[in-house]
Amino acid sequence: MRASIEIKDASVTYYLRKSGKSDKVNKKGSVGAPIIVGHRYLEVQALKNVSLSLKNGNRVGLVGINGSGKSTLLKLCAGALAIQSGSISVKGRVSPQFALGAGIKPELSGRRNAELKCLYMGIPQSKVTDYVDEVATFSELGGYFELPVRSYSAGMRSRLVMSLLRLVRGDILIMDEWISTTDPSMNKTVSKLQADLIESSSIVIMASHSQRVLSDWTETLIWLDQGEIKAMGPVAEVYKDYHQWMKKRA
């Protein structure tokens, strides 16, 4: 399947209900887009006139300070947010991986979560048991695989989530920066898993602050600032500019 993402002059605004006094929200901070006080809502214009065209084979990284619009752009591509102006067209099955633990149910066991994931990913019922056993082996959680996820430590949870990535099926892989924050004991297996996942995806969009992660997994880097694309190009070049800008800013 030919996957593609076409975004033209897209602007995205978040709306937050006003509560209490809203006169202090106009105070300018060092991060994030300005907050506009509307009639009923506080409006945060997280993306402004962003245009982007991605086709099969594109591996794109996103970089920028907190509140620059990286997660908003990822969520927009995943369909979790809508545009207020401009247009967006996404072709292909999107596989979003926004945050560690998103998409799993804490009250269910690792096994039940794996079974659910299989069903959501469209894996035939007859193969679910095999896939789930594979996840159990890969995660090395032992008996904990049968316990509710809420009883897991952070490391155990990341092992489960990483192992569940084996079940991910998608043309467009969208990853937020959590991907590099796994248990060091899993680094080798996770790197292999990430490589397989990225290899099998037609388009990859990944947000990260790590130059190593961005250089390893992406070819093009988009630098976002205040919801706008400040620069776009080869990872090394754009990251260098970003790094210098960060130094000056500090």
Binding site: Y14, Y15, A80, A82, S95, P96, K105, L116, G170
Partner: protein, 212 residues
């Protein structure tokens, strides 16, 4: 058990009253789930849905399937009770089960979206909806008979839409005589709700995702 604890109707045998309460209570749980269980779907479950390749409509569809699953488990209890104490009730009315479940399912998803939309725009409504649902339980003919209507009960039987849906399931299982009026009223109420939800969905499906 509650059917036995509450004062049984004087115009209905105990076994029939038990079936009357059981069918009403089973459908009520489904109705309650559709209303009170839908106050935070978008707010709390959309991200989970997106991670699992579900759209906004798919998320509400999944919620409906979950409710229908629970409903079907409860229906097994109704069927068991019918076999044990009221097999004589089962008849040709059972053919109406398919249209009944279609009407109920469509209405459930429509109500769920409308309730959720209201609580997205007015979060304080969530508590009001939950309290209102508890009130509606007593205002609906679940433990009292719609036939024995007089005064307030008459008013509630006529103007509480839930009473028509409760009448429908009881008619399907032969606990009440078939009434065209009941089906006509539920069809009208469901059509209005579904149409409203349909328009609301297409007008809000984009904007609603950006409200935090």
């Amino acid at each position: 058990m509650l059917a036995l604890v509450f004062r049984p109707s004087e115009t209905m045998p105990l076994a029939d009253f038990y079936l009357y309460v059981l069918t009403g209570f089973v459908l009520w749980q489904f109705i309650q789930g559709s209303i009170a269980g839908s106050t935070d779907v978008i707010q709390k479950k959309l991200e989970f849905a997106i991670h699992n390749n579900l759209t906004l409509a798919g998320l509400f569809g999944k919620q409906l399937v979950d409710r229908l699953f629970e409903f079907s488990i409860n229906l097994l209890l109704v069927i068991t009770a019918l076999v044990v104490v009221g097999l004589n009730h089962v008849g040709v009315n059972l053919l109406a089960f398919l249209p009944f479940i279609l009407i109920v399912a469509m209405t459930s998803i429509a109500v769920a979206y409308l309730i959720n939309l209201m609580t997205v725009f007015y979060p304080d409504l969530a508590e009001l909806v939950k309290t209102g649902t508890r009130f509606m339980f007593f205002a609906s003919p679940i433990f009292w008979l719609a036939e024995e209507r007089a005064g307030v009960r008459q008013f509630l039987s006529s103007y509480n839409p839930v009473s028509y849906y409760l009448g429908m399931i009881r008619q399907v299982f032969g606990i009440e005589p078939f009434s065209t009026r009941t089906w006509l009223f539920t069809l009208i109420i469901s059509s209005v709700l579904c149409l409203t939800a349909f328009v609301a969905y297409f007008r809000s499906r984009d904007f609603v995702r950006n409200i935090k």
